[in-house]
Amino acid sequence: MRRFSERLNLTDVIMFIIGALILLLVVVGSAATLYAGKYTTRQWLDLVVFGVALGSIYALIALGYTLVYGILRMINFAHSEVFMAGPFTAYFLADAMGKSGFLDQNLFVGLLIIFAVSMTVSTIVAILLERIAYRPLRFAPRLVPLITAIGASFFLQYFFRGLYGPNIKVYPEIAFLKNVIRIGDLNIQYLQVLVIAAAALMMIGLQIFIQRSRTGKAMRAVAEDKQTAALMGIDIDQIIVITFVIGGALAGAAGVLYALMFKQVNFIMGFIPGIKAFTAAVLGGIGNVPGAMVGGMFLGIIESIGPTLFLDGLNVPAPQQLKDAIAFTLLVLVLIFRPSGILGEKLAQKKA
């Protein structure tokens, strides 16, 4: 008992009180909302489905953060712009195909082309980013590549703004994807099925690639220990490029899914999803691939049902306004209380 009181210091107490207060807020809010019974089971299920779809997109972006962090031990701040570049470029194709009616007639081919273009552009941006901004700074003090990444992020945002214009562009509506599957109280749009299925497919593919293939094994080796991996004959530079390629392609795909869900693209669209995906990556334990998927789902669901569940019962006006604030609060809380994440590695304390 005495040792416990000796170990305790003021900052820990303050942190504990803050954490307890937020927990209390969440519990009381949820209880009040559920007690009031304003929402039906169907509405809750709708929110959950939306959350899972949103979460799969976050997970795809989060994989880019996690893969790069695992190997370079740096946060690729510009990853949100890699995510933006693909769908912003593919918009013109989607728009042209939507207007000519091609997209409605050959939905599968049309979507495939959009995905291909978006993934290619994102991948190219990711490769250039690594080559120009990150490679020369691989041995620099930590702050230097981080600032470079922030600069690159801004450069890319405003570069694409200059190229394609500052206006919001609207992706074409695809009538087919608005159809709904009904299973009891559960309503799922075809679009949500597409998003969840595509994301799941890519994540399973990535997991198999990393666990089974030779390159995947080399990636894991480099993440474990760069010097030793180099001595074993692994080309570090090449592995890093491959990592950026995978992250970029996944981000490009996630971008199209995001654009299909929210219809709008512009140069700033990457910022908020980028931070949220980073939150997802930290939630699951940064550097941990399955963790990023779990973290993405978790964040998507919290963001979707959180404002209603936590805040509505407390009579907060317009709780949806605060969904971003909830995501950011979650980010801050996770980084403070559990920087190693849900499935985190033990090493995290040393790295953070």
């Binding site: 200059g162 605060l322 604030a325």
Partner: protein, 569 residues
């Protein structure tokens, strides 16, 4: 390397520069800058930018190719800048066949006209090719000139460009001094310098530059040989002139430029605050705008009668200490949770804090307190006592000046104190600093608190200047602005922050065309700065040393790579 030059180098550099030139055109830079002539009717800033790209291509190609004979350098230079100019022509031809404007907003007819000098497709293309070749030859001649001659010519050329571009600044300033009017009438036409004006400036500066470079050491010797008393007199005299100039500045420069100065002052205040956190203590804070907002909102809420609070302080000067204190307190409060974090995580958490504060100020929940999206309005003027003044940008200048002098004074004193050295120790190595008996908690919290209080001061003045504040004025871009200026000026260096604020806040305001490309260029500047000169424009001595160490360490780390490439056939 000289013995075996890579022959494909000019072509590679030409291709690369061509792509860059086309991207510059598609970004809309040539069009935007094309409206501003450096020399009226002769050359616009947009064209100068394009030519500079060609010139740079040729110059780099010559340097890298290792060619020494004049004929060879001319060939190499002309080849690579010609390739670059072919790209530009290809863009125009492509644009005339297909509708590039569907994708690229800036690929429009006016751009093509600019790129073909309004001479039609064929003649314009030929002219562009000739420009490419001429730039290559010019680059070759530049390389061939002796270093000293190059220096003599380069400075006047830069001055002609600067004076041409800053026409508005010069003419507006001189409007307040009617006796100088004939000079501007001679130097400038309606858009840009006049041809005789440009020539006069060039010749005049060539002469001044020559004498300066030749006689500088003589002047310095003479100053050094003066008796100490008169040397002191010279020093105090120049300081006196500087002070008088600083005080007279708003009167000399007029209303619009005073507004620009106010902005510089505002960012200087924030920059000096963030400099304590990032520059001195090495804690990367991306949510600095939060403290700016807290200072502004505290003063706003305390002095605005509109929100109908119980406590309203009518006097701005009474509310000011509250604004600073609340910001400092918030700095410490937000500092506590992040005490154990370093680098990346710290940056993200502070970014999160900044966004949360903005989202809360914007939300309907706190609308009764902060006014939500409608903001807080009717904030008090900084009137002194019963003195009712009309507050213009010119009078706010003095408030910013006083604030900046105070903050610079505090920063300089703190930097060399025990606390300042503790911050630097923490920046260099936290674990070692702790082992040497530095209290990490107190040191870091003081950095957060002091940095935040400067931000709060900036916010308080800002709130009073605008009289109404809105949540969307406190977005992430402000944090990035402030961070960019201290990084480009030189982290931890107080003169660096001043230079950074003038260059990054002052310059873009003088060149209106600039504003569209502001963040594009900030982003590029951050990356280039980190790659080429991570210590900043005006580096701090200690920091430069640290980064020097890293460069020395870097060399042996590259060894395994060399071994590996040698092993390959």
């Amino acid at each position: 390397m000289l013995s075996n030059p890579d022959r494909s180098y000019p072509i590679k550099i030409g291709l690369l520069s061509g792509v860059i030139a086309v991207l510059i055109a598609l970004e809309g830079m040539i069009q935007a800058f094309g409206a501003r002539d450096i020399i009226g009717g002769v050359i616009s800033l947009g064209h100068a930018l394009l030519y500079a790209t060609f010139f740079a291509a040729a110059y780099l190609a010559i340097r890298r190719s290792g060619a020494t004979r004049l004929v060879n350098t001319i060939f190499v230079g002309a080849l690579s800048s010609l390739i670059a100019s072919i790209f530009v022509i290809a863009l125009v031809w492509l644009g005339s066949w297909t509708d590039l404007g569907y994708v690229f907003v800036n690929a429009t007819q006016p751009l093509y006209e600019l790129l073909t000098f309004k001479q039609g497709l064929v003649v314009g293309s030929l002219l562009m090719l000739i420009v490419g070749i001429v730039m290559g030859i010019l680059a070759a001649l530049t390389v061939a000139l002796p270093a000293k001659t190059r220096q003599y010519i380069l400075t006047p050329v830069i001055w002609v460009i600067t004076l041409g571009v800053l026409q508005d600044l010069v003419t507006v300033t001189i409007q307040n001094m009617p006796f100088l009017k004939p000079v501007t009438n001679f130097l400038y036409v309606s858009n840009g310098l006049s041809i005789p004006g440009a020539l006069t400036i060039f010749v005049l500066l060539l002469a001044i530059n020559y004498f300066w470079l030749e006689k500088r050491s003589a002047a310095q010797n003479r100053y050094a040989s003066l008796p100490p008393a008169s040397r002191r007199a010279v020093r105090w005299g120049s300081i006196g002139i500087g002070v008088v100039l600083l005080l007279m500045l708003p009167q000399i420069l007029g209303l619009y430029l005073s507004e620009v100065l106010d902005n510089v002052g505002l960012y200087l205040l924030m920059g000096l605050g963030l400099n304590i956190v990032v520059g001195f203590a090495g804690l990367l804070d991306l949510g600095y705008v939060a403290f700016f907002a807290i200072g502004a909102y505290t003063v706003g809420v305390l002095t605005s009668p509109e929100l109908g609070h119980a406590v309203i302080i009518g006097n701005w000067w009474v509310a000011l200490p509250f604004g600073v204190a609340v910001a400092a307190f918030a700095g410490i409060l937000l500092g506590i949770p992040v005490l154990k974090m370093r680098g990346d995580y710290l940056a993200i958490v502070t970014l999160g804090f900044g966004e949360i504060i903005r989202l809360l100020a914007l939300s309907d929940v706190l609308k009764p307190f902060f006014g939500g999206a409608q903001g807080t309005r009717s904030i008090a003027d900084p009137d002194i006592g019963p003195l009712e003044m009309t507050w213009s940008p010119q009078s706010f200048y003095y408030l910013f000046l006083a604030g900046c002098i105070l903050v610079i004074f505090v920063s300089t004193r703190v930097k060399n104190s025990r606390l300042g050295r503790a911050w630097m120790a923490v920046r260099e190595d936290e674990d070692v600093a702790q082992a040497m008996g530095i209290d990490l908690v107190a040191t870091k919290l003081l950095a957060f608190g002091m940095g935040a209080s400067f931000g709060g001061l900036a916010g308080a003045i800002y709130a009073s200047k605008l009289t109404s504040i809105f949540p969307h004025s406190f977005n992430f871009l402000i944090s990035i602005n402030v961070l960019s200026l201290i990084i480009i000026g030189g982290m931890g260096s107080i003169p660096g922050v001043v230079v950074g604020a003038l260059a990054l806040v002052g310059l873009p305001e003088l060149l209106r065309e600039f504003s569209d490309f502001r963040y594009l260029l900030y982003g590029a500047a951050l990356v280039v700065m980190m790659l080429v000169r991570p210590e900043g424009l005006v580096p701090e001595a200690r920091r430069a040393m640290e980064l020097e160490e890293f460069r020395e360490e870097e060399e042996p780390a590259k060894e395994p790579v060399v071994l590996k490439t040698m092993g390959q056939p």
